[in-house]
Assembly symmetry: C2
Homo-oligomer: 527 residues x 2
């Protein structure tokens, strides 16, 4: 992973010409920023770990797995939100005091024991793809903070073909997990945009949702069990596919982002690799009719594996991006569908009937296949935009079908007004990529012509959006999680009693508050 | 509801002749017990509530909604497990000190405030159908205990046709909920055996699963939001169908059986009433081949709305019960399937292919239709058996597909050996009625020829079964919940860390421990 951008440096690409020529029309004159700082030129404070701290961590994981080099520290200094990437462009950066790489569950527990004994904060680190500040090197009340890099916890621990269940070590990345399962003819089928780098433990800790969620469900629904090391004891949960043995405590750890414990193993539902795949894209007169089509498909049940609706603004730019503004697709809102698995013919026929009834016109396979090819490449494009001086960020929410349009309008207004107040033109795109019987997600991409101090300009816009989401009845996050960026708003969503529940669990499991201080729950609520 | 048995007294029925003649063959000589005590003859201790307590509760809910008559107290003295019913046959009984009937969320909150202020324990009471001791009048460390009867919280609070969501008051019973939704052309489609009496809040509090779970999911999966009054604050959860805004706290309250707060409203996913319904029953050579068929159907996805497999023992007795031991069905294991909703033809074709491949032979509509007619009547039969001197109880667990046979064998062995050690012959039947991609439930019915002291004989058998379930990797409850009867085993399932999490939430929300003392978590763990 590029230390200051997304993914494989070899895959970085220039902005397509069509986009490059479109940007000034949308955002006004763009000023190219200073070139990004080199990794070797970044200055970080000296590690605050004492020799005794280092000795204790080395005893837990071995000498070579405690790395307090500047380079390792900077590479674990944050996630991959736009503010993260903008901070990576600065000459002075915050960083954890060391990177610790445990090999397995027992070493994770040993690391937590050291951290408690030495008073060192711990930031669990999987693929490093958080976009909500969950990886910020926050020390809390402790004298130092380490990044607990979990990628050595990799592998298929158990595979049960009869039950369609696998236990994966938490640091297994998306591609590693799929390769291990493919050897048995199975797949997980979970494809968030971070798929190539993010880990199974991260999917669980952040309540990830993947592009195949219409068919395979969000990651929450795939998890059948979990093993966690907490500072005060281990826990292993998930004996059966359905249970009434008290509240489902697996759900306490899904979405906990490392504040209660470190997930070391994840038990997941898997299924045979589907043999067939069918693509079809559709064109709708507008977002509203497209959303109505998706609602019908979601409420009908068993339909496409992937279904995505881009609004008019995203449809136009996506088409510019792939360089083919065809007549059939130039206007309106586009929908991509992919069908995998059993019963494709019937499922497609039923879904297509709903799509047609809501005003959709089939546009063949092409656009859907192209979407599939480029589906993990969005973050590369963001790097190119940032390099060109265009502010680009994404955010997401979800709500009921009946509240979808008001929520979309409220977020769009908050983004446009927020940038407008800062004197910046912006272009807001939206898509629906996760559907449920009762509602859907809304995913926004905003481009803005921010002349200076993009971090300073974005912070109040982001706050305004969060306030708008809460006021309009949406959730503060559909699949990016809370981290530190949303922590101040979580109480608006789950109420004071909800925060008290989380803080009580935190106090019980992590009484010294070493785990990911300030993530999910504001720091002052866990003291 | 009969005060000392199940349901509508008018529907009580004698044992079918075929069953009556079968019982001595299975269980040996049966001795008819003493006739059951009359309600008016039951002795309970005088109410321990003080005049000041009563005055405070009356101020909260109105004079007429505080009932400390012996009759009301005895009617709220417990649930409907076999031990409950055996206790109802005794001359002296424990009972709550009064029955309090709040009208709405605010009155529930007011009751909790009174209970905290006066030091009175509170047992939330919905339909009164718990079979795990969740309604025992346990005072904990308090001087008195009241039953908080929630059936006045009844009605459809909001209905969102577009989103397919309804908000129901927690005391709404199954039939009331379906009638309210049917007025809009919708249904919930949740049919546990307790359906006619149990409440929506009870379904949520106990993590109920209904007979249509193959199609509609367990109640857990229908709940999209919840409103709860706790002794230290209200909470309202569930803004969106999918979220990554921290752990899903709705799941903290599902399965909490009133120990954290009183559920006052439940938001649920609903769907249009299906137009079509198709029945088909099947015969399999044995339980193993039937279970293999169900596994294939579950892992295929979208299949029947109802699917149930009875083992050889249950198949034989069920057939005796309906008086038709036909040639095709007399042996082996029977499967009932019901299909409702969209795409029945394709779904049935796909499921049937799996059933045939696993060795199933179609046996027409008859048995499946008969099952549907009698599906809520099992508890009436138990009353008749108890009246005839036959001990009869049910219990359930669940596990992965690969562990299904070992778990079934372990439970059956524990039941037979347990009764055998007490010198009683027993007959154990098992069915699978809830299937998941990764596993299934196992539901046992045991009949035993217990000569004397059935409560004393059953307690160690039940303990032995629970130990066997834990040792064999099953869950202590698939859909009956924990109550007090399973509380001692919950720690075996979720571990010490799991119990600590529940106790921490309990201390935070209910620091004075007034709510359902001893349910879910053993009493000594919440002091």
């Amino acid at each position: 992973m590029r230390w200051n951008g997304w993914g494989d440096p070899a895959k970085a690409k220039d902005l397509p010409l069509a986009v490059r020529s479109l940007l000034p029309l949308l955002l006004g004159r763009i000023r190219k920023p200073e070139p990004s700082v080199e990794l070797s030129a970044v200055r970080v404070a000296a590690s605050a770990l004492t020799d005794a701290d280092l000795t204790a961590f080395r005893a837990a994981v071995g000498l070579q797995n405690v790395d307090d080099s500047d380079q390792a520290r900077i590479r674990h200094a944050g996630g991959r939100s736009t503010p993260d990437l903008l901070r990576r462009r600065q000459a002075e950066q915050d960083a954890p005091d060391a990177v610790i790489r445990p090999a397995d569950h027992d070493e994770v527990r040993a690391c937590l024991e050291v951290a408690v004994a030495r008073g060192v904060a711990v930031i669990p680190f999987g693929g490093g793809t958080s976009v909500v500040g969950a990886l910020d090197p926050e020390r809390g009340r402790h004298h130092a903070v380490v990044s607990l890099d979990l990628r050595r916890l990799s592998g298929l621990i158990r595979f049960d073909e009869i039950s369609g269940e696998a236990v994966l070590a938490a640091g297994t990345t998306g591609p590693e997990a799929e390769a291990l399962l493919a050897a048995h003819g199975f797949e997980l089928g979970h494809y968030p945009q971070s798929f190539r780098y993010a880990t199974v433990g991260g999917f669980a800790a952040a309540r990830s949702s993947g592009q195949n969620s219409a068919g395979n469900g969000r990651f929450d629904t795939m998890v059948t069990g979990i093993r966690v090391a907490t500072p005060t004891g281990d826990i292993e949960l998930g004996r059966s596919p359905g249970s009434a043995a008290g509240p489902d405590l697996v759900r306490v750890f899904l979405g906990s982002e490392g504040i209660f414990g470190v997930i070391t193993e994840v038990r997941v539902r898997v299924h045979p690799i589907p043999r067939d795949r069918v693509f079809e894209s559709w064109s709708f007169p507008d977002f509203a009719s497209g959303a109505e089509a998706l609602r019908r498909v979601a409420q009908q049940g068993d339909g496409p594996t992937v279904i995505r609706l881009s609004d008019e603004a995203e449809t136009a730019v996506s088409l510019a991006q792939v360089g083919r503004i065809g007549k059939a697709l130039a206007k309106g809102a586009s929908v991509v569908t992919v069908y995998e698995g059993d019963g494709i013919v019937e499922r497609r026929a039923r879904a297509s009937a709903h799509l047609v009834a809501a005003g959709g016109i089939s546009a063949g396979e092409g656009a859907a296949e192209e979407w599939l090819k480029g589906r993990f490449d969005g973050p590369y494009l963001r790097d190119s935009l940032l390099d060109a001086g265009v502010f680009c960020e994404t955010l997401e929410t979800a709500t009921t079908w009946s509240n979808l349009q008001p929520l979309r309008a409220a977020v769009e207004r908050a983004l446009k007004d927020g940038f407008g107040d800062a004197g910046a033109k912006s272009y807001v795109m939206c898509h629906v990529s996760h559907i449920y019987p009762t509602g859907a997600s809304l995913y926004f991409t905003v481009l803005a012509g921010v002349r200076a101090d993009p971090l300073g300009v974005w912070a109040p816009v982001k706050a305004r959006v969060n306030n708008a989401i809460i006021a309009a009845g949406g959730t503060i996050s559909h699949h990016h999680a809370v981290g530190r960026d949303h922590a101040a708003w979580l109480g608006e969503e789950i109420g004071e009693t909800g925060i008290r529940i989380l803080a009580a669990i935190k106090r019980e499991l992590d009484p010294s508050g070493i785990l990911n201080p300030g993530a999910v729950i504001p720091l002052e609520r866990t003291r």
